[in-house]
Amino acid sequence: MAERPLRILIAKPGLDGHDRGAKIIARMLRDAGYEVIYTGLHQTPEMIVETAIQEDVDAIGLSILSGAHMTLFPDVLERLRERGASDIPVFGGGIIPPEDVTALKQLGVREIFTPGASAQEIIGWIREHIRPRGD
């Protein structure tokens, strides 16, 4: 039997409204055959983790362009741990300086895509690294 399609949550934490990238990625992933849940804007880390658990997703992609990435990524990771869901991989994209990318990866963010990354690159990464969580 074929593997079921991956369920990916694309989420916009924080206050910034720059959703062009998040929406394009959501649509590209959908066109590539994934099940995509898009949270919409202005989500708190709590809301995102709740949605991820409720929707039983295989990965969470966070889009952050407000400069608050060093607060919001760790917050999401921490809440996943608290809820016993730290097996859900978190990746992300946004305007994130290289030093912060390194720091975030050390904290457990699986991958960070910065401006100029193509959707194909992101889809390729997901194909290689994300697997359906045990069902």
């Binding site: 924080g14 206050l15 910034d16 394009i24 949270t39 400069g67 917050d75 959707a119």
Partner: protein
């Protein structure tokens, strides 16, 4: 010899030698190999162009344009604490900048004080943190408010920030009638594109009309709104969509103000605009020219405005942030220069040039300086500012101007059929059109049909690091501390009474500006007043169209 464009295309033009299959603008409009008198049809100089400073203002809104006065060089700045930004303001003024432009941080823009849990990690990041009048005082310390003009980029909390600015001026003994500047205050484009909101569209427009009414009476040199296409374009629209949705928003505001009973000629001269200026050189110039011609027609024919000042579309322009690349960031200097040149040839009244490092972080001082110098070089070395609308009469530019205008009118008709811009937004119409365009462009980038140098062509392996500005984490702690302290030292009963007056005005429909000004003078904060908006008008939620 060919006798028509068609004959020339069929008999002489070597189509098989074209280096690509389709020549298009960045907005995906097909570009002909050549433009001739046939492309401008029944062109009439008086009707379609006229003289600069004359209806329909295609050639410019003033008779002498940059020969009389150069455009205002206005670099958008704001980060960290009010003191940090004040220092950047003074630096820019010392370097010959001629107007100020303030960027606020996300909590301030979204109606949260620095000490609110939702502000965590965002204080002073994308702009300056302003929670109360004390912050506004510090932000403009030592800056002569009666001599510089100030632009403030803020929308859902615009009424509160403007009230603070007015209150600071008043404390310094400067009458409101002497204050010049602009507040963005364009909520419709927030629902369409930038997505910073508190309340639903209807009450949001009501607050804006309150501000237009108040400023018309009390601060006649102030621009109470800057109707903005910039963010629409950044969200991925085409040039024609940017133009159409911006003018449709303008129609929405003018209609709402007229419905309130305001005389169109009393407020229309103080409306201002803000457009993006992107990479596609001629398309952008055409867009600015078409914008002026369309707005003149809208104001004269649709709204019956009689004063020529009401017909003029005066605009600020900013180079396209979305055109910049994180890869090989020095290349951005070149993009910005070309875009800035297009804005000048398009006849803008003021201009912000982006800094080369903006895809990486907030701009460093060095990067801002290069951006400002770019404008100064265009103004004082290239000679372009000696001419008025030098591309007027070019077959290509006139044809593009007509074409973009026709496309924009078609959108405006469609929006009218849907019941106006507020209804169209509720239906998601402009949002979906923009998403489609953004998606199409992304696919064209991925297929290589459209090129971004350094991103999908001419890439390099190793990027040399460039120095970027970092906002230290202490900024947030310091600002939160300050806001908490100030809240403790106020008289709670005074604050409650001031908020009650705002609540009453909000419910009863009387003008909100006087009670908001009164409240901010009593140290009532951005977050507290926004909470009243949330309570009375409700909260708007993202419909999250993909």
């Amino acid at each position: 010899m060919p006798r028509s464009k068609r004959e020339w295309l069929e008999q002489c033009y070597p189509k098989d030698k074209d280096r690509i299959g389709r020549f298009t603008t960045i907005s995906d409009s097909v570009v002909d190999p050549l433009y001739t008198p046939e492309d401008v049809g029944d062109f009439s100089y008086e009707r379609d162009l006229g003289y600069p400073g004359e209806y329909p203002f295609t050639r410019g809104v003033y008779p002498s344009m940059y020969r009389g006065k150069l455009w205002t060089m206005r670099q958008f700045a704001g980060y960290g604490t009010p003191e940090d930004t004040n220092e950047r303001f003074r630096f820019l003024l010392e370097q010959g900048q001629t107007g100020l432009s303030t960027a606020f941080d996300m909590p301030t823009l979204m109606g949260y004080d620095a000490d609110h849990p939702r502000a965590r990690g965002e204080v002073g990041r994308e702009g300056v943190a302003v929670s109360s009048i004390a912050d506004m005082e510090a932000l403009f310390a030592g800056i002569p408010l009666d001599r510089v003009t100030t632009s403030m980029t803020v929308n859902c909390t615009a009424s509160i920030l403007l009230a603070m600015y007015f209150a600071v001026a008043e404390r310094r003994g400067i009458p409101l009638s002497k204050l010049g500047g602009t507040i963005q205050n364009d909520m419709l484009k927030e629902f369409i594109a930038q997505k910073e909101w508190i309340c639903p569209p209807e009450p949001s427009v009501r607050i804006i009309v309150d501000m237009i009414e108040f400023c018309t009476r009390e601060a006649p040199r102030w621009h109470p709104i800057s109707i903005s296409g910039y963010h629409i374009r950044e969200a991925g629209s085409t040039a024609a969509q940017e133009l159409a949705f911006t003018l449709a928003d303008g129609i929405g505001y003018v209609q709402a103000a007229v419905d309130r009973g305001l005389d169109v000629d009393a407020f229309a001269p103080r409306l201002s605009f803000f457009f993006n200026v992107h990479n596609d050189f001629f398309e952008e110039i055409a867009k600015f020219r078409a914008a002026r011609r369309m707005w003149a027609k809208i104001m004269r024919e649709r709204f019956g405005a009689r004063k020529p000042e009401s017909w003029r579309l005066r605009t600020h322009a900013q180079t396209a942030g979305c055109s910049l690349t994180a890869q090989q960031p020095l290349n951005n200097v070149v993009r910005v220069a070309i875009q800035a040149l297009a804005a000048v040839l398009g006849g803008t009244q003021s201009l912000h040039t982006n800094s080369m490092d903006e895809t990486l972080a907030l701009p460093s001082e060095q990067a801002v300086l290069v951006a400002l110098r770019t404008q100064q070089i265009i103004a004082e070395e290239t000679g372009v500012a000696n001419f008025i609308d030098p591309l007027g009469g070019s077959y290509a530019v006139e044809a593009l101007t007509n074409q973009i205008e026709a496309e924009a009118w078609a959108y405006i008709r469609r929006i009218d059929e849907l019941g106006g811009i507020v209804r169209a937004i509720e239906l998601g119409f402009p949002q979906k059109e923009i998403s489609e365009a953004a998606y199409r462009y992304q696919r064209q980038l991925e297929s290589g049909e459209k090129v971004m140098v350094g991103v999908n062509k001419y890439q390099v392996q190793e990027e040399p690091p460039i120095e970027i500005l970092r906002v230290p984490p202490e900024v947030e702690r310091k600002q939160v501390e300050r806001v908490r302290q100030r809240k403790q030292t106020r008289d709670a009963a005074v604050v409650a009474r001031a908020l009650e007056k705002i609540r009453r005005a909000a419910r009863e429909g009387s003008n909100l500006m006087p009670p908001i000004i009164e409240a901010v003078k009593r140290e009532v904060t951005v977050g507290e007043i926004s909470d009243v908006f949330r309570e009375v008008f409700g909260i708007y939620r993202d419909p999250a169209y993909i």
